[in-house]
Symmetry: C2
Subunit: 335 residues, 2 copies
């Protein structure tokens, strides 16, 4: 491993996994942390809760479809929701650069608050730090969250089984393209906006079918390609995805072709995937379509026995290729 | 209010209070957040929990008596403990500057882990972000925490009453002086080290006497002067402190005189104050002295009816002066 932290150590892909493996896990030896999920499942006096944390360093702070405030709420709420929890309480910690415009801070706080209202979570504790000019780039936010887990809910890679359908809730890559299009120095015109949205109300529609749901994740940093790899690594099974079935806006496809980006590694902030028992997939899809965030939900692949721990894509032209985790940093500070 | 964020907005004093009042509270309208305590007291299925968040931006990362990792655990654990909660679970979010030495990151992670072991809390969920060189100053950490609150515990400024004794657990100003002594550009030689320590085991000794304890706080950013002002603002009473009674190392006193600093506004990271019914003060002091962190505990003042909402110091020479909240930024990035 390198002696210095690289941007890639923060991209949610291979280098991040390596950093966690070699630096953090040997120090923080906790069985819950070791599960490497995006949320900790805990028990307090016989009640199950989920606990999660995320720092947001997105650049720019304001982008088509949202801003860092909305993103911070959605990111944290979604990590709770895909763990099967009902998000209840949020904390917010601001790190602000000296001279930051108060008007922008108010805009971000309002947006944070609006997103929390939409997601029906309460902002209950906060912290503010200010650092001197040059010591941070404008504003960072940390949002931690607590959710409660209803009885009978148990999602996780350990439950994934051969034959499971992989359901994706909608188009991929919108958040990545929206950030890219508004990034200083490389900005371009597009109608694509971030998909940044709280998923807990969609998950609420899915929970009655929880018995069929084996695992649920949100493909954020590192994109769909990385999250599918995490599932195969953790479950030991393989996954085959069908390129034809991947929902993708024409405009996103075009921009990716133009810029040489792979939509499989673009970040999403309002999408989830579920590994579902094949018998329950149809019913679950109908339930998901009741929520606007699930109206384009579809089956994009299946869990296979072979090849173990590999993600394979059946391409449009009839070939197949392995899909690896994100390695190089395509786009830092996406969230 | 200013149109731009100043360093003073982060010092925990008057400007921070103003920022919270004018920017955050109007957006984040939650009755629990509105109590403006360092921890949120929540109910989950009839169980009371405490939830808190803190970002740490201390400069330098390594200082006499600790580092940002130890500090992050202590700061968060202490916010839970002074709320009367038993700290149980921590999250940790790293924001790392590209090129940060991996060896230093490991050192900090180990120190974070050791402090969590000492405080008997579990690190259960984590997040890592990396930003490009120049986008943050080396490393920031956010630590959020969850604690459980035993039955019958109810601390808060609303319970503070005339005649309450103000107990302080030990010497003030050590953390502030330790940071100052190691700060680039102004470093000086001193044997003073940060008091940075988890207070929950001290609080554990105090909880059997919880019925006498009306309020408990830790005087961190903004120091003792600021925290006493928060208590009088929130309770409506006055507080008189006796300069003679203030525990202060000779060396800290000397450095303060030399540099023109007021120890009342220096940060502490391993001290607490309690407002205690006068009949219970002696017993509580004996209990506190059983823990090494409470061996120098003493009564430094009393709650008075007059003057309302003011902190008065009876000086060594027999005069008296008002103690205000911290206004100007004495020392940014103290925690």
């Amino acid at each position: 491993m390198e002696d210095y932290i690289l941007l890639g150590h923060g991209n949610g892909g291979k280098l991040t996994a390596e950093l966690i493996e070699t630096c953090f896990l040997p120090c923080f030896k906790d069985p819950v942390l070791n599960t490497l999920q995006d949320q900790a499942l805990l028990e307090i006096e016989n009640h199950r809760i989920a606990f999660t944390t995320d720092s947001f360093v997105v650049d720019p702070l304001f982008f088509p479809g949202g801003d860092i405030g909305k993103l911070a709420v959605c990111g944290t709420v979604n990590d709770l929701a895909v763990g099967g929890a009902v998000p209840r309480f949020l904390s917010v910690g601001f790190i602000i650069e000296e001279n930051f415009p108060l008007e922008d801070l108010k805009k971000i706080a309002r947006s944070f608050s609006r997103a929390a209202d939409t997601a029906q979570v309460r902002i209950v504790t906060a912290d503010t730090k200010v650092v001197e000019k040059g010591a941070c780039d404008k504003l960072f936010i940390n949002t931690s969250g607590i959710g409660t887990i209803n009885e009978g809910i148990d999602f996780g890679s350990h439950k994934v089984a051969e034959g499971d359908a992989i359901i994706l809730s909608g188009d991929i890559g919108d958040h990545g393209i929206a950030i890219l299009s508004s990034r200083k120095g490389i900005a371009f015109e597009t109608s694509v906006t971030s998909d940044c949205a709280p998923l807990n109300l969609l998950v609420h529609e899915m929970l009655p079918y929880a018995a069929s749901i084996h695992a649920m994740r949100d493909p954020t940093r590192g994109g769909l390609g990385t999250i599918l790899n995490e599932i195969v690594q953790q479950s030991g099974f393989g996954i085959t995805v069908y390129e034809d079935a991947l929902p993708l806006k024409e405009e996103v496809r075009g921009i990716c072709e133009l810029l040489g980006l792979d939509p499989l590694y673009l970040a999403n902030e309002g999408k989830l995937i579920a590994c579902v028992h094949p018998d329950g997939a149809k019913e679950l899809l109908s339930a998901m379509k009741k929520n606007p965030l699930g109206k384009d939900a579809c089956i994009i692949g299946h869990v296979t026995k072979e090849p173990p721990k590999k993600v394979v894509m059946e391409t449009r032209v009839g070939g197949s290729r392995f899909i690896d985790m994100l390695v190089a940093e395509d786009l830092p500070r996406i969230c």
